[in-house]
């Protein structure tokens, strides 16, 4: 019996389907099916707190979302968030990778230290910074006060524009290590001969940096931009911990949670989730395509 099972399995198709079918069933049950469920909800008037009033609603949820001033301003806000975050992450990551690519004593220790922010759970990251930014006793206030930059403690997170930028900052702090590591991996794979060849051709430091270093980072740079755009658009945990549902930092991700699970409006929430989700899916497909491309790094 055992013999026949193992010989039945010793066939490429039998083995493959034995592995794949259970997995696919699992993914259908807990990923595709729920996604289709919420697509269905998005066409219903469906408030979880008023279950007797569920009825077909057509495209009205979508119209309501697109006419909702809170949603529209959250889209503007996250656009600002993505632009500032992506630019900053890429620049700082490039700087860190260039430094780590130099030879100096303690380099491997520093390389371990820079990944620490990335290891911290995002929600814990939000709480850590909420303490540092605290208006009554925070370290940021203490530091700026002692340096004489401010003369009295500030409630940073109560000032909308500052709160938004601080939310961006804590994302940048957590995400930069990941991109630095990607950049460093490519920098370390640049053959020394390329630099030597450029020197023979009479290229100065700046020209070598531009034509060799930056040129090698082109492909990974593109991937890093997409990854950071996706990640900064999707931030939820950090903002939830830092400022909760505050207007100042309300991105579509936060608002979507608030509408769906705080207000119980599953219909409108699902419609919003799909509107936002289509944008995210488009970005992710670009990423998957880019990273599948096999040609030169």
């Amino acid at each position: 019996m055992k013999k026949s099972l193992s010989s039945w399995l010793d066939n490429k198709e039998h083995l493959a389907f034995t592995i794949i079918i259970p997995t696919v069933l699992l993914l259908i049950a807990f990923a595709y099916y729920p996604a289709i469920q919420s697509l269905r909800f998005s066409f219903l008037k469906y408030n979880i707190k008023r279950l007797s009033h569920v009825r077909f609603y057509g495209l009205k949820n979508y119209l309501h979302v697109l006419q909702d001033p809170v949603f529209l301003s959250s889209v503007l806000r996250v656009t600002y968030f993505m632009i500032v975050a992506t630019t900053t992450v890429l620049l700082i990551a490039l700087g860190i990778a260039l430094v780590l690519n130099q030879k100096f004593p303690g380099r491997s220790v520093l390389r371990a230290m820079i990944i620490i922010p990335w290891a911290i759970p995002p929600v814990v990251n939000g709480q850590l910074w909420k303490w540092i930014f605290n208006g009554d006793y925070g370290a940021l206030n203490g530091l700026l006060f002692q340096l004489g930059i401010i003369h009295q403690y500030q409630f940073w997170l109560k000032q909308p524009f500052i709160a938004l930028n601080f939310a961006i900052f804590i994302f940048v702090w957590r995400y930069t290590p990941f991109i630095s590591i990607l950049f460093l991996g490519v920098l370390q794979s640049i053959p020394e001969q390329l630099y030597e060849a450029a020197m023979v051709d009479g290229a100065g430091v700046l020209m070598r940096f531009y034509h060799v270093t930056l040129a090698s980072l082109r492909r990974i740079g593109g991937i890093a931009v997409i990854l950071t755009l996706i990640a900064s658009f999707s931030v939820f945990d950090g903002i939830y911990a830092l400022t909760g549902f505050d207007e100042a930092t309300k991105t579509p991700m936060i608002y979507n949670y608030e509408v769906t699970f705080d207000m119980g409006r599953f219909g409108k929430g699902s419609a919003m989730a799909y509107l936002v989700g289509i944008f995210l899916m488009a970005l992710t497909f670009v990423y998957i395509r880019m990273s599948f491309r096999k040609d030169a790094r």
């Binding site: 010989s7 399995l9 010793d10 490429k12 083995l15 493959a16 592995i19 794949i20 997995t23 699992l26 993914l27 807990f30 990923a31 099916y33 996604a35 919420s38 860190i96 100096f104 390389r111 371990a112 230290m113 820079i114 990944i115 620490i116 290891a119 911290i120 759970p121 995002p122 929600v123 814990v124 303490w131 540092i132 605290n134 009554d136 006793y137 370290a139 206030n141 203490g142 006060f145 403690y153 290590p177 990941f178 590591i181 990607l182 460093l184 991937i223 939820f236 945990d237 939830y240 949670y257 699970f261 929430g269 989730a273 989700g277 899916m281 992710t284 497909f285 998957i288 990273s291 599948f292």
Partner: protein
């Protein structure tokens, strides 16, 4: 290349800045956690505590002091249950991923079968599936199936959403090892399964370690899903119980900072210890 002294000083300053940027915030939370309440709430802050104490750790781990906004649950119970739940959920997910991802990676890189492309994209497309649409549907599905507020529900969820990434990575790792090794094992009379376990799996071990660590970390760090899908201490992971130290109007910063330090020790220790694997895993993941 000869580097001059100016460059060395410049480099040294940059190294110092990078170090400060990366570790000053976590170090500050460690300092806060060993400060007395009086020092914690002093203006300007005591950068180095005059009377260091472990009281906050005792409160969070052992003594179980109640706190405002805790709803009658003691801080220690909230915290200990959270840690336990997080460990159970993360370890189980990691073991499941470790058992399935290599098989899937092997199937897609080595075996030719009908619908190869179709099934691969069916699995990979999950990566592009955005969070909220799935979570909203999952909330209603879980409440029908009785999986709301259970650890099993969270494990199923994190396993389902880790698997596509890890399958993709493992496929890449298998593709990087030569076919000849397995062919040799086949000639020696091994079945495909035996060849996989005896030969190929050994060769993709570094990849498997990377994949497992990344699965553990991302499950440990998970927050939005358990926030939606759990509501009692029976199944809330640490990330969710911790946010309860922060009330709307009152925050227990001493409990908070001790809890933060304990919560970041496992992931930070893992990252530092397995640094090489993680770096390789992250780079391999992003650029296949």
């Amino acid at each position: 290349m000869k580097k001059n002294t100016g460059f060395r000083i410049f480099l040294f300053i940059l190294v110092f800045l990078i170090l400060f940027w990366s570790i000053a915030p976590p170090i500050w939370i460690v300092i806060s956690s060993i400060s007395t309440r009086a020092e914690l709430y002093s203006k300007p802050p005591h950068w180095i505590p005059h009377n260091p104490t472990l009281q906050a750790y005792v409160n969070v781990l052992v003594k179980g002091e109640g706190f405002r906004g805790g709803g009658g649950v003691s801080a220690a119970r909230l915290f200990r249950k959270g840690i336990l739940n997080s460990i159970i959920i993360s370890v189980t997910t990691t073991i499941l991923v470790m058992s399935f991802a290599p098989l899937l990676g092997y199937a897609f890189s080595r075996l030719r079968f009908k619908g190869h492309e179709f099934f691969f994209y069916l699995i990979i497309a999950i990566i592009a599936l955005p969070g909220w649409p799935v979570l909203i549907g999952l909330f209603s599905e879980f409440s029908t199936l009785g999986l709301l507020d259970t650890k099993i529900g969270l494990i199923l969820l994190s396993f389902t959403f880790r698997l596509p990434f890890e399958t993709w990575f493992m496929k890449g790792y298998f593709e990087a090892i030569p076919y000849e090794v397995e062919d040799a094992a086949r000639i020696d009379g091994c079945t495909y399964v035996q060849a996989l376990f005896k030969v190929s799996l050994q060769m993709v071990m570094p990849g498997l370690i990377a994949v497992s660590i990344i699965s553990f970390l991302s499950t440990w760090n998970m927050f939005a899903a358990p926030l939606v899908l759990t509501y009692t201490l029976k199944s809330k992971p640490l990330t969710v119980t911790m946010t309860e130290f922060i009330g709307q109007y009152f925050v227990n910063w001493d409990l908070m900072s001790a809890a933060t330090v304990i919560a970041i020790i496992p992931p930070v220790a893992i990252v530092i210890f397995f640094q090489k694997y993680i770096i390789r895993g992250l780079s391999a993941g992003a650029i296949k």
